[in-house]
Symmetry: C2
Subunit: 377 residues, 2 copies
């Protein structure tokens, strides 16, 4: 329980009040839209955060690796969706989870993988619950709602005795927009595509009880989700500068920051050198092509007040270059002397968190609690 | 000792033969230039790799965090340079290392930090050995060789009873070039600036025994290093696509790769979807502004043969998009079916390694050994 002033730097801080506010905002929204909510825990890989999400009303979790599934299942969470296409090489791990009692759902978007899942399931006497991945915005994987492959995959699963549990879509292209109108259109398209795919499956005789969609921008924008049963989102719990630029949060909502110390200056260039480089921030430059480029992050005072115009303009492994946008601040060594402690708001909370073995959860009185996170596969 | 074909994906592979060849190439070069070599272990944070570097003739190690110093010291390495500017908040940790017998050298480039070090040393009866950081190419931190501040920092250290052990320079701007002539000029400038700074210190009465310089590109290019006592370099041990573009290695020298599995396709776009996203590759886009943009990495077969033109063109957290540069490969699902295992060469070995809790060292017979790495601060 060190006080924030006593923490070594760099360190990943969670503003627990902001986090709780973000969790409640999303949960309330899902409630009013009449859908379940299954947070994506890949953002934090952190038990206390997932517990806070479930306590607020989330139903189950989404994971990006089977290691996450194992870790969260070991902590007592058993309704888990593994939202990356299953392949043969990972079926042993999935089987072990199912055999230990984990209600693990897996996904696929192609007949080859569906066949592998089916054969493996038959061989081991396991009926896997499989959700079919739907592509509603051409951004990555999935089957388009009207494609013939949709029914082919469902039939392959059924023929091998597997359970077609639902459809899953993720409108990842929502990250490329920053107007409410565009987000609304993508949210509608995500909902419509998933609901249509489920309809086709049902018309062909598959039960398809679940219609799962989501991304943070669409979840916070959608106006109606008729036919959808659950929504998934991850980064909303912390938010970040990319989400700020997309327009779904303000900088005051960003719950994750990196605590850093000024270690030197290049006064004539207007640079302060800090001990948060890309190892602490990640190499994510997600704001580079957005309307406001924050470099590697937005500088704040140690208590979290934004320093307008001061960003982490460069990053080496353990060195960050902090400077003012536009006119160099030749008084930076006086303004931010060696030893000054600052917080840096990240471009991308998922990527920044991944650089740290633990978060420091900052409580309202400034005391901190170490919240471990895990990584790897 | 799993065989490479049995490893789960994604996984970070080290080709141990290439690694050993890279180590020997650098060590031989340093020997012929008549200088000591102090590898930067921040690239790997991995004990077996550092041991191989020392076994080949390296004298001491360079670290980027005090945690690295602690871990490598615990493993019996005691000649350690911490090559990031020291600040007050980290002196307790440095003191503890010195008191346990670690021959830790620290650095500074400003009088404020020098004074903190001196006062702290006096208070605890510890004579810290401090090297002064020199800026030879305006890329980050350090004092320029002719600046008055150089002598001011040395005097501050001397007046408080600390030891001015040497000067240290790092020509980080070498990463911005790709011609032998340009690298030669930067290497010369790095050497000249460091030697000149040492000369000024000696003329002012400071012993300054060490003149330490280095970066992988300059270390592999410099033609003469008269007056230099040691060279530092990190990424040479694995190399990567950035170094390939700079011109100091070929793709056949790159010892680090990420093993991945094809999990799906978008045939009409010519995409294969793989299970190596940015979590496995890092968000480093270091080749973006270089002469050849490799996206998030160069695809190879599982045995390491380069697939010319096939790169990881996109990356989400656990999804990579693999495609052909130029004309889409509409036969990609036949060429690389679901389940195909590939290796991806990384843009930046330091950043990619940091995403993995361990490397899998691949021996010539295809058997593998887990080599743990650590992270955090």
């Amino acid at each position: 329980m060190a006080h924030i002033h006593e923490l070594g730097t760099p360190a990943a801080l969670i503003d627990t009040q902001r986090m709780q506010r973000n969790i409640e905002r999303m949960q309330k929204r899902m409630h009013s839209l009449g859908v379940g909510f299954r947070p994506h825990v890949k953002t934090t890989k952190c038990l206390p955060v997932a517990r806070a999400q479930l306590a607020a009303g989330a139903q189950g979790i989404t994971v990006s690796t089977l290691k996450e599934a194992e870790q969260f299942f070991a902590a007592g969470m058993d309704d888990i969706l593994y939202a990356v296409g299953m392949v043969a090489g990972k079926l042993d791990q999935a089987l072990a989870l199912r055999q230990r009692g984990c209600d693990l759902k897996i996904i696929t978007d192609n007949a080859a993988a569906a066949q592998e899942i089916g054969r493996f399931g038959q061989r081991h006497g396991m009926v896997f619950e499989v959700w079919i991945e739907i592509d509603t915005d051409s951004h990555r994987s999935g089957i388009q709602p009207e494609e013939e492959a949709l029914l082919e995959v469902a039939r392959t699963l059924q023929d091998t005795g597997m359970r077609v549990g639902g459809v899953i879509a993720h409108a990842g292209s929502s990250y490329d927009h920053d107007s409410h109108a565009a987000l609304l259109a993508i949210a509608q398209q995500e909902r419509d595509g998933a609901v249509r795919a489920a309809q086709r499956l049902r018309e062909a005789g598959f039960a398809c009880p679940v219609v799962s969609i989501g991304s943070t921008p669409t979840a916070l924008t959608a106006q109606q989700l008729q036919g959808v049963t659950e929504v998934r989102a991850g980064v909303y719990v912390f938010f970040d500068l990319v989400m700020h630029n997309i327009g779904v949060c303000s900088t005051d909502d960003i719950a994750l920051s990196v605590l850093t110390t000024v270690i030197g200056h290049q006064q004539e260039k207007g640079w302060a050198i800090v001990d948060a480089g890309w190892m602490a921030m990640s190499r994510d430059r997600g704001t580079q092509k957005q309307k406001h480029d924050f470099g590697f992050g937005q500088a704040c005072t140690e208590d979290g007040t934004v320093l307008p115009g001061y960003i982490l303009s460069g990053a080496n492994q353990e060195h960050g270059i902090l400077s003012r946008i536009g006119e160099p601040d030749h008084g930076i060594a006086q303004r931010l002397p060696v030893g000054t402690r600052l917080r840096i708001l990240p471009n991308h909370a998922c990527a920044t968190g991944a650089q740290h073995p633990q978060y420091q959860a900052v409580l309202p009185d400034g005391s901190t609690e170490a919240w471990p996170r895990f990584y790897g596969w």
